[in-house]
């Protein structure tokens, strides 16, 4: 699948934004009241920048961005539509929560707003994952862990950004850092299981079945249907070379997970280095997650490639 930068930026940035929003809501729900105008201002502003920036990015690949509002109508059948509805609901109630936290209203009122914000922020990321997982035409995406990986990465990157904000404001939080470490490690494990799974899964669709001549029939392309690459080949024919994919997977493991975890351990051991370690960890994770999302598209083979020379899919 063609890795469109607008979609890669959207899913990574919005994932971190909704992850951060979920953590802020979780904090308000579970922690004793701790009013801090500066913290809430920075944290909510960053969560909204990441989430809305990502959503705006996603409209860049539309043929008619001005009609994007129409995408909210088909929530009965479409996960993409559900994602839009959940995102707007999460950001709407989340905005009320931000105002309540900034105004330091009584904590019970904040918590009434925090509970739906937490659920809706997670639901948004869940819908993002389901858009991909429910496409049987793309074997690598219909894997059972696709949505769980999206959710885990959003929570891990949200926790990492939260840790960084706290460190930069001078309140290094070992609790947040530990949460980020555990979530990053779990994400790495799930991603490894996912990669093993898609490598091992049999390619059951054959070109023989695609042209209706029997699954076992030997079929080779003889003449191209058209002289230049068409939309189908450009959009769905993209495939990264296996040797590059292996190197890029290592890069994901290093930049998205290993380096940030080591830097967070450093933050816990030497709080004085916190701002430096957390910032570096966030940058490293950003590079790693961008690569992870690029690979998610570039490694995925669409079944339509059977008509364009692939023997199996």
């Amino acid at each position: 699948m063609h890795p469109a930068y607008s979609v890669i930026l959207f899913t990574t940035s919005s994932g971190a934004g909704f992850g951060l929003l979920a953590w802020l809501a979780f904090g308000i729900l579970t922690s004793p009241p701790a009013s801090s105008f500066t913290f809430y201002l920075v944290a909510f502003a960053l969560a909204y920048t990441l989430a809305i920036g990502g959503l705006l990015c996603s409209t860049f690949h539309l043929g008619h961005p001005e009609r994007a509002w129409r995408a909210l109508s088909q929530w009965r059948t479409s996960w993409l539509s559900r994602e839009g509805v959940a995102a707007i609901a999460a950001l709407g109630i989340g905005a009320l929560l931000a105002l309540a936290a900034l105004a330091d209203v009584p904590v019970w009122l904040q918590r009434i707003l925090a509970a739906p914000t937490l659920v809706l922020a997670l639901a948004t990321v869940w819908c993002t994952g389901m858009i991909y997982e429910t496409l049987p035409t793309i074997r690598a995406w219909s894997h059972v862990l696709t949505t769980e990986v999206y959710l885990m990465l959003a929570l891990a990157s949200g926790a990492l950004v939260l840790t960084t904000i706290l460190a930069l404001l001078g309140w290094p939080s070992p609790g947040a850092a530990w949460a980020a470490i555990v979530l990053l490690a779990l994400s790495a494990l799930m991603k490894a299981i996912y990669w093993n799974g898609i490598d091992a899964a049999p390619r059951t669709f054959t070109v023989g079945s695609a042209v209706g001549l029997g699954a076992g029939t030997k079929v080779r392309p003889l003449l191209e249907a058209h002289t230049e690459a068409n939309f189908v080949m450009r959009e769905m024919g993209y495939r990264v070379a296996r040797k590059h994919a292996d190197k890029l997977r290592l890069m994901v493991m290093a930049f998205a997970f290993a380096v940030p975890i080591l830097l967070l351990v450093l933050l816990i051991a030497k709080p004085v280095l916190g701002p430096f370690a957390a910032t570096l960890a966030t940058i490293s994770a950003g590079i790693g997650l961008f690569t992870e999302r690029w690979l998610f598209f570039a490694e995925a083979q669409h079944v339509v490639t059977l008509y364009y020379g692939a023997a199996r899919a």
Binding site: H64, T137, I138, F205, V211, P221, L223, A225, V304
Partner: protein, 249 residues
């Protein structure tokens, strides 16, 4: 609405005969010609006379080398929307621009509400939907919905443009939901098949597999001549030998 109709009154679709298709591309060009002025207008081309010409077509004709050895053969393979009974391209659409008609089962895109997100093209196993880069919306086979009901056209022209153009009558149009229709009978006689049935989209369009070749490469080796019993030279024996030779011709 992207919710699918529980059932459709008719199942209009195509039956494509892979035995008689000669890969002339007449269906593809005729489709392009009609549809760039019809429901899907414009069917844009980008850089048509430049170094990288490409554009939206609703029908693509491939050619494959099928089988091995002396019995291998060329199969021309036209590929377009199959108007599936359970099309995932419709249910994934976030705007309701994609829909399946309850009256005849035709799958259409409303060009006024499509946002061009391309998710439907990801959901389709058959590459039937192409993004029109100039128009910003998805284009797909309409089964020439603007011809088949068009009373301004002579009756013989009220079929999809590809069917009308095919010089070898390899394309047939009709109601595949009616077991007595000509197309359903053809599918029954010739053993028509679905493409990628394991995907579960239940295509309405059917493909008729090529008939077995009937020439020197596929005929069974001639049976060894029965050894004639040694002639005893009598007149009757010579007559039977002569008769045997005559009848064996």
């Amino acid at each position: 609405m992207t919710a699918l109709p529980a059932s459709t009154k008719r199942k209009l679709g195509l039956v494509i005969d892979l035995d008689t298709c000669v890969g002339c591309q007449a269906c593809a060009t005729s489709c392009k010609e009609w549809n760039t002025g019809g429901y899907s207008a414009p069917l844009s081309d980008i850089d048509p006379y430049g170094a990288d010409p490409h554009g939206a077509w609703l029908n693509r004709v491939h050619a494959y080398d099928v089988g091995e050895g002396a019995t291998s053969r060329t199969v021309h393979f036209p590929r377009s929307c199959l108007h599936c009974e359970t099309p995932a391209c419709v249910t994934v659409c976030p705007t309701g621009a994609s829909y399946k008609r309850a009256e005849d089962g035709i799958v259409l895109v409303n060009p006024d509400t499509c946002i061009g997100c391309k998710l439907c093209s990801w959901a389709c196993a058959y590459g039937a939907r192409e993004f029109d880069a100039a128009d910003g919306v998805m284009k797909k086979c309409t089964l020439c919905v603007d011809r088949i009901y068009n009373e301004h056209l002579p009756e013989e022209d009220r079929v999809p443009a590809c069917v009308r153009a095919c010089p070898t009558s390899a394309r047939h149009f009709g109601d595949l939901g009616d077991p007595d229709s000509a197309v359903s009978q053809l599918v029954k006689q010739r053993g028509g098949v679905d493409l990628l049935p394991e995907m579960g989209f239940k295509p309405v369009n059917k493909y008729l597999p090529p008939r077995p070749r009937r020439d020197a490469t596929t005929l069974a080796a001639p049976a060894a001549p029965e050894t004639a019993s040694p002639s005893n030279g009598s007149v009757m024996d010579r007559f039977f030998t002569w008769a045997d030779q005559m009848l064996s011709r």
